[in-house]
Amino acid sequence: MNKRLVAFDKIGISFDGRVLLENIDMTISEGEIVTLIGPNGSGKSTLIRTLLGLQEATSGEIVRHKTLRIGYMPQKLHIDPTLPLTVKHFLALVRGVDKQQILPTLEKLGIGHLLKSQVHVLSGGETQRVLLARALLNRPNLLVLDEPVQGVDVNGQVELYNLIENIRNELNCGVLMVSHDLHLVMAKTDTVVCINQHVCCSGSPQHVTGHPAYQALFGVPGADESIAIYAHQHDHVHDEHGSILSDDGDAHAHCKHH
């Protein structure tokens, strides 16, 4: 049995008399990927900030395992342009970091070449990976990822999710992910928690999409015909310039790009 890292016990938060969250129960265990979904303004970020200690809960309690160590990946990174900072220096700011681990961590995430880049010139996807590297360098047993794929194109999202899954498999850490995009998350996730001020429904992805409370919020899957999901069957990978990498020249002969 994997140990339980965090348990939210009837967490409620109100602000100036306005209820943001009420009666939230949720647990995250080692090796488990939990995805928190909900519409904008549903209190997802507030809930995460409470777990991180950036905000006080008005009622209820968060029970943390005594070994809990969080690696946090914020939604975005704003660094004042007047502050010259390379990726290396940014990552060296992690409290008690082992500097020998910086380059290997970047390489594991496929961005070893960015070590000496200024943080201000990174693309959206690169920034996300640098932030993920910073979270990992904190030697976490729980990764908290706030909208980790925001501003990343679909291919990049798939890659990032694969990375996160690999990290989970390697470290056996818990992962708590916030997303407003259900469809791409579902494939990798163990538990989905759908909140809109309170927990609407939770369970396995299949269970949640079938739940009436979910359908009321997000609609019935497949009901909106203007959006369809295309299941890519890529048998090739692209390099940084978009050309196709393959072992033999004929690998994608059956796959036509339009």
């Binding site: 991180l52 200690g53 950036l54 969080i70 946090y72 914020p74 990174l77 704003h78 660094i79 004042d80 007047t82 502050l83 010259p84 900072l85 390379t86 220096h89 940014f90 700011l93 992690v94 409290r95 000496k116 200024q118 910073r134 904190n138």
Partner: protein, 263 residues
């Protein structure tokens, strides 16, 4: 005469050397207006120091730290926007200082010297204060460099990683207050912030790491002090403003000439 110039040069260099790195933090954290507010209140510190007959530097430090604490408390309450709050505090503190000074009939205060600085009136004791205070500031900066920078780069990440964010923020305010107290003799309350932010902004053009920017800011500040002092001696101009003009010229040069950033 030589003695006088040497003291002025020593004092000026000491101030520029500490104002540079701290100025970098002021620029990074967008605290320029905050620095101004503290500096303006320093005059009130001077008046109180005379009234209560305590050491002026000490009075200034205490007042600046006190004001910084008041500011942080008011900021948290979100009563009005921060820039408005700073404006109110800065100008009421300055005016209060001017009013308080006018009550001191039995003591003659050279108001211009406090407002714009008088590098040439600097005494042996002042030099000791500058180097004592400066050494304290540099020691604290070096000792707490990593947490200070981590909190500046991203407070939330720093907090999650376990840095004592509130304490670090307080430390930074204390350092700014110290520098103001120490630098007031040189450039005066109205120009202190410029000695912090202009060299730092100039250094930005040339640096690619925080440490580089902080050390360049020191060097550029020292260069501004030397040339300002020389100009003041040569053309008999007021020293404080001359130093600031030189700093501004260096800034212009750095941003108009095609300098390459250090790697």
């Amino acid at each position: 005469m030589l003695d006088l110039l040497l003291r002025a040069l020593l004092g000026g260099l000491g101030v520029a050397a500490v104002a540079g790195p701290l100025g970098a933090f002021v620029v990074w954290r967008r605290m320029a207006y905050f620095g101004d507010t503290l500096a303006h209140s320093a005059l009130l510190g001077v008046a109180l120091g005379f009234l209560l007959d305590i050491n002026l530097n000490l009075a200034i430090i205490v007042l600046c730290v006190g004001l910084a604490l008041v500011l942080v408390t008011l900021q948290k309450k979100h009563i009005i926007a921060t820039d408005t709050l700073l404006g109110i505090l800065a100008h009421s503190a300055l005016s209060l200082g001017l009013v308080a000074v006018s009550f001191l009939d039995n003591i003659r205060i050279d108001l211009m010297a406090y407002l714009f600085g008088d590098l040439l009136a600097i005494s042996q004791t002042d030099v000791y204060w500058i180097y004592g205070g400066g050494l304290a500031v540099i020691t604290l900066l070096v000792a707490f460099w990593k947490p200070l920078l981590a909190v500046t780069v991203n407070e939330e990440l720093a907090k999650v990683e376990g840095y004592p964010v509130e304490a670090i923020r307080l430390l930074l305010m204390l350092l700014v207050a110290l520098v103001i107290a120490v630098a007031m003799k040189i450039v005066g309350v109205l120009l202190i912030t410029s000695l912090m932010i202009i060299p730092a902004a100039t250094a930005r053009k040339l640096s690619s790491t925080p440490v580089q920017m902080a050390s360049f800011a020191s060097l550029i500040g020292c260069l501004a002090v030397c040339s300002g002092l020389w100009a003041s001696y040569r053309w008999d101009t007021p020293t404080g403003p001359s130093v600031v003009v030189c700093a501004a010229l260096l800034f212009l040069i750095a941003y108009t000439l095609p300098f390459k950033r250090l790697r």
